[in-house]
Subunit: 383 residues, 2 copies
């Protein structure tokens, strides 16, 4: 019986910090199989990933992952608590036994904190513009602790999801090292930099990433940043869609549709547009997610439908991963997809197919992101 450990990741792109995390998780848990739940072509902040899900799956496989599953768009591009819940739901369906994750404060007992919070599941499942501050006020009252760091907040989300879903999964936080999530600069020494710094750097980043990622970076990003190639599509969309129809977009509320549409007329560049759109009540990430939903025409119905019908989408596997899969897939509690066909495309996979096809279009790829693809298989030289 192979022991497993699970990681929840974006790998945008895969760097030495991720490698350290993966190897430490395996060592700490004495696991045989590392299961990675990775965001697909879009990441939590509402941006397209630097490389598509297949390239990033390959990076993960080349660096020790045994199974890579796609965290569906309907979980991956969400506020932290829904991201966390979606990921835990997927891992629970796979029957994983333990999740190891990096946090800013490994000394906290996140399960304990989550248990002490008054259960307001209804409130935590829908987005609220004052969520972060309301959450912290409540948490501080109940526990004396405030969570201001992004990975601590995610960890709380995992704990909350485990309680709510009654999942039999052990949570193992580990201390994050060196680079903070928001560090935009490459450190002068060491081999670990933040993904943000690596994405933004124009200098050589070979020191901070494994060989596969260095090769991928050398070929250039798959897509331009949101503010470049995606902005003309968004602006076009805003100008050709009525405010009434925009109001159906997921998380478009409080009249944001009017504000966004008006700004699309006034400003031809993304920075000025965002300056006009953002307010104190909405975080940049929230606005950017709503803009991405708009660009991809993700309505309330689309998102709720996708959240109500989760599926497991296998992106890649090693020999060990395949062995584990053979033994365990009969116990999976959600449908496992390893190939997308036209029937799925028109059915429950429609949203995922759609958002991936736009990524493919912006990538300029003649190859479909889903149909005709099979999960990647790593060479497993080390096995």
């Amino acid at each position: 019986m192979l022991k497993n450990v699970a990681l929840i990741t974006e790998y945008n792109p895969f760097h030495n910090g991720h490698l350290y995390h993966l190897q430490l998780a395996k060592r700490l848990t004495n696991a045989d199989v590392v299961i990675v739940m990775m965001s697909g072509n879009y990441v939590q902040r509402g941006e397209p990933a630097l490389f598509d899900k297949w390239t990033r799956t390959n990076e993960a496989l080349q660096n020790g992952a045994d199974l890579v599953f796609e965290l569906p768009f309907s979980a991956a591009v969400q506020p932290a608590h829904l991201f966390a819940r979606g990921a835990v739901e997927q891992l629970m369906a796979l029957g994983v036994s333990e999740i190891v994750f990096g946090v800013e404060h490994a000394e906290y007992n996140f399960l304990d904190l989550a248990r002490k919070m008054p259960t307001q599941a209804a409130e935590f499942q829908r987005y609220n513009q004052t969520f972060a501050s309301a959450f912290n006020t409540e948490l501080a009252q109940a526990t004396g602790v405030r969570l201001d760091d992004p990975n601590d907040i995610l960890a709380f989300g995992y704990a909350r999801a485990i309680i709510e879903l009654n999942a039999d999964i052990k949570l193992t936080p580990i201390q994050r090292v060196q680079a903070g999530y928001h560090d935009d600069n490459l450190p002068e020494a060491g081999h670990i930099a933040s993904a943000t710094a690596i994405r933004m750097s124009t200098a050589d980043v070979a020191q901070y990433v494994p060989q596969q990622t260095a090769q991928d970076l050398a070929l250039g990003a798959d897509v331009t940043p949101f503010s470049v190639g995606w902005w003309p599509l968004l602006r076009y969309r805003l100008q050709t869609t009525s405010a009434q129809d925009l109001a159906h977009i997921y998380q478009m509320n409080e009249g944001l549709e009017h504000r966004i549409k008006e700004a699309s007329y006034r400003y031809t560049d993304f920075a000025s547009f965002m300056d006009q759109v953002k307010t104190k009540r909405f975080t940049y990430a929230r606005i950017q997610r709503v803009l991405l939903y708009t660009l991809l025409n993700v309505t309330d119905d689309d998102m709720h439908n996708a959240m109500a019908h989760p599926m497991l989408h296998l992106l890649g596997y090693s020999n060990s991963g395949q062995t584990w899969l053979r033994t365990n897939k009969k116990d999976f509690t959600l449908p496992l997809i390893s190939k997308v066909n036209r029937e799925l495309r028109q059915g429950e996979y429609e949203l995922q197919y759609r958002v991936d096809s736009i990524y493919g279009q912006l990538k300029g790829d003649k190859r479909d992101q889903n149909i005709g693809r099979v999960p990647l298989r790593s060479l497993d030289i080390a096995d």
Copy 2:
């Protein structure tokens, strides 16, 4: 009292054939004022115009036009009979006395032909894929004449509209000279070439166009052809819109939405996409119009609403044009717009504003196509 003559045009771009037509019309009718009803930023075949409506208005004013009005999108981008009807409706509201237009067969009496056709106004007002052939079969039975040439067919449309609208407008067909509408090559001799040949030519076309147009051409087209810059937007739109929503697009019927959507997944280039989409039942122009409606999100409701609320939109005038306008505008039977404000934009001008804003975006113009603009005034040196 200034005598007027009206022309119905696209000027895409304004060339020597147009100049000849304008001058001949003025001479034939002994008119003081030449009124031009010109397509705006999009032309009848479902394509963006080479230059925007302001640049083309200027070309017309520099070459003898006294008043330039915009044929609204809801008339300009339509099958021939609706194009013709929309233009006549506008000119009737202006109170013009005569329309002079080029045809392939000036010997026909188009009013007579139209009178002899069984009146089937209902059928002629909606598009039918077999319209051209059904029309000609019926016409040949009633009159012994077939109309196969585009300007003859338009002329019939003017005549039919005049009968149906009971308009007191004289129709004066003149024989078209030299270049046929569909001639794609520049003629070796002479000074007249088709607009198609001029648009497609990479050679110097100064011999075929007046000075203003030559200057405009030297600066390059305002937008790329439909198959270039517009195709990524169309493909994006098709991939992010459900077949159900696509079915609301004007003239999208007989399951065309499924055919088009499917093709958008399979083909990344416009030519292959069109090869897949076109059938014997639909002309290229019809398909291209539906694609343009799709790109601009023009629904049945949008179009019928715009057709039900026509307005006169002044784009430019000369001194003589201004004098004529002062005397006659009190008798106009439709609202005259010379400035678009935000109220109009959100009201009856919404469709026109929307389609123009997308043209402006593709042009890369920071300046709005409507708001903040006033009609162009020609210098009128010759007056």
